[in-house]
């Protein structure tokens, strides 16, 4: 498993099965597993890895990376994923979102949007998609998406706070749940994001120490944001 800063400088942060189990046990609300090399390397998503992670989880599990068809998605769900994330393949062929929603139900379809300066980028941030993030989110909703996972490349890995402007623009443009991603450094950042989005994704600050989740949750609660 790897994590970078602004999608670059990826470093190894541990075994995905062990980390996934540790998060589930530490009280995470949900686990999102993105196989970022599946698109870059043009190889199929690792269904076997999903099977092994799912075996250890008791929380919702979203898997993304390399999903190009409803059959790809179905294999992931049968392996134990609850939702699939689509990104580059949906940008290339937006009808994919509808095909997934019809086969799996909208609640299982997460459209992941990576944005830089409010513009969408594909292939793990390496290519411009030539679209505006809010406009793409709205189209994704119309095509049957169930959730938007919105990652700010500008904020990713910086630990300086979520991109609130981007998050507010996208959350305001759709009536779907939006997961804010990229930039979490402390509880205040999470509380700010939860004031706008329906969920906040954490990566860098937890990968080193999954046990920090419990204290972080307590700090967010003390800031007046209701969390489980």
């Amino acid at each position: 498993m790897v994590k970078g800063v602004k999608f670059k400088g990826l470093r190894d942060v541990g075994d995905p099965v062990e980390l996934g189990a540790a998060y589930s046990d530490a009280g995470a609300d949900e686990l999102v597993f993105l196989d970022i090399k599946a698109t870059l390397g043009d190889r199929p998503t690792l269904v076997e890895l999903v099977r092994r992670v799912a075996e250890r989880l008791a929380i919702p599990f979203t898997v993304g990376g390399g999903v190009r068809s409803a059959d790809d998605a179905e294999r992931l769900l049968q392996a134990g994923a609850d939702k699939v994330g689509v990104n580059s393949a949906a940008l290339a062929r937006p009808e994919l979102i509808t095909e997934l929603a019809e086969r799996l139900g909208s609640q299982a379809v997460v459209v992941a949007i990576d944005a830089e300066g409010g513009r969408v980028r594909s292939h793990a941030g390496t290519l411009s998609a030539g679209r505006d993030a809010t406009e793409w989110a709205r189209e994704a909703e119309q095509r049957g998406a169930g959730e938007i996972l919105l990652t700010s490349i500008d904020a990713d890995g910086t630990r300086e706070g979520y991109d609130l402007q981007l998050t507010a623009a996208v959350a305001g443009a759709v009536s779907l749940p939006v997961i804010a991603s990229g930039g979490a450094g402390n509880a205040r950042h999470v509380a700010e994001a939860l004031g706008i989005a329906q969920a906040a994704l954490l990566a860098s600050i937890l990968h080193e120490n999954p046990q920090r989740l419990a204290s972080l949750r307590e700090e967010v609660r003390e800031l007046g944001v209701p969390v489980r």
């Binding site: 008791a58 769900l77 609850d82 909208s106 169930g146 959730e147 329906q198």
Partner: protein, 179 residues
């Protein structure tokens, strides 16, 4: 204790299988003979009902219900136990529990995430439709979270995805089949 999970050819039933195995249950394919039959909650209503009929699960579940033997429905599985759902242009359910399900009209839809169920704590929900039935036994933010009628017992949330509290809830479902 053996549990039959009534798959209908779509989505993730593995989480439910894993959760019941963790509790020590054995899984069987025999919906008629199992101590507990579970109707999992994945996919869309029309495809699910077609899948149940194709496998003869609709008949087996009706027989179980008439014999007073426990059936546990999760999410869509709860909704399929009702007479009818608005989903997919209108689909007849198994008609075990009086009621119907309709599309959620308030808040962000699908309704995704953890929410309190009465005073029992938070469970994980992921749904666009919800049950309307006089046999509701628990609520979450104005939405029916659980219903019980005869030997049918169903919840709108996903206990198999609701951590430790969810595991306790599944144990309760299992204990129904011990009576």
């Amino acid at each position: 204790m053996n549990v039959a999970i009534c798959g209908y050819g779509a989505g993730n039933v593995r989480s439910v299988e894993i959760a019941f195995r963790r509790l020590g249950a054995e899984l069987t394919d025999d919906v008629g003979a199992a101590d507990l039959a579970v109707l999992p909650g994945v996919g869309s209503a029309r495809a699910a009902m077609a899948g149940l009929r194709e496998r003869g699960h609709d008949v087996a579940l009706r027989e179980r219900f008439d014999d007073g033997r426990p059936i546990f429905g999760i999410c869509l599985g709860l909704q399929l136990g009702l007479d009818w759902t608005e989903e997919d242009g209108g689909v007849d359910g198994l008609g075990l529990v009086p009621g119907r399900s309709s599309r959620l009209l308030e808040g962000r839809v699908p309704r995704m995430g953890w929410a309190e169920v009465d005073d029992r704590g938070a469970f994980y929900f992921a749904h666009s439709y919800a049950a309307e039935t006089p046999h509701a036994t628990a609520w979450s933010e104005g939405v029916v979270a659980e219903a019980r009628f005869g030997s049918f017992f169903g919840c709108q949330f996903h206990p198999e995805k609701s951590g430790a509290l969810g595991a306790l809830y599944l144990e309760e479902a299992l204990s129904l089949s011990r009576v």
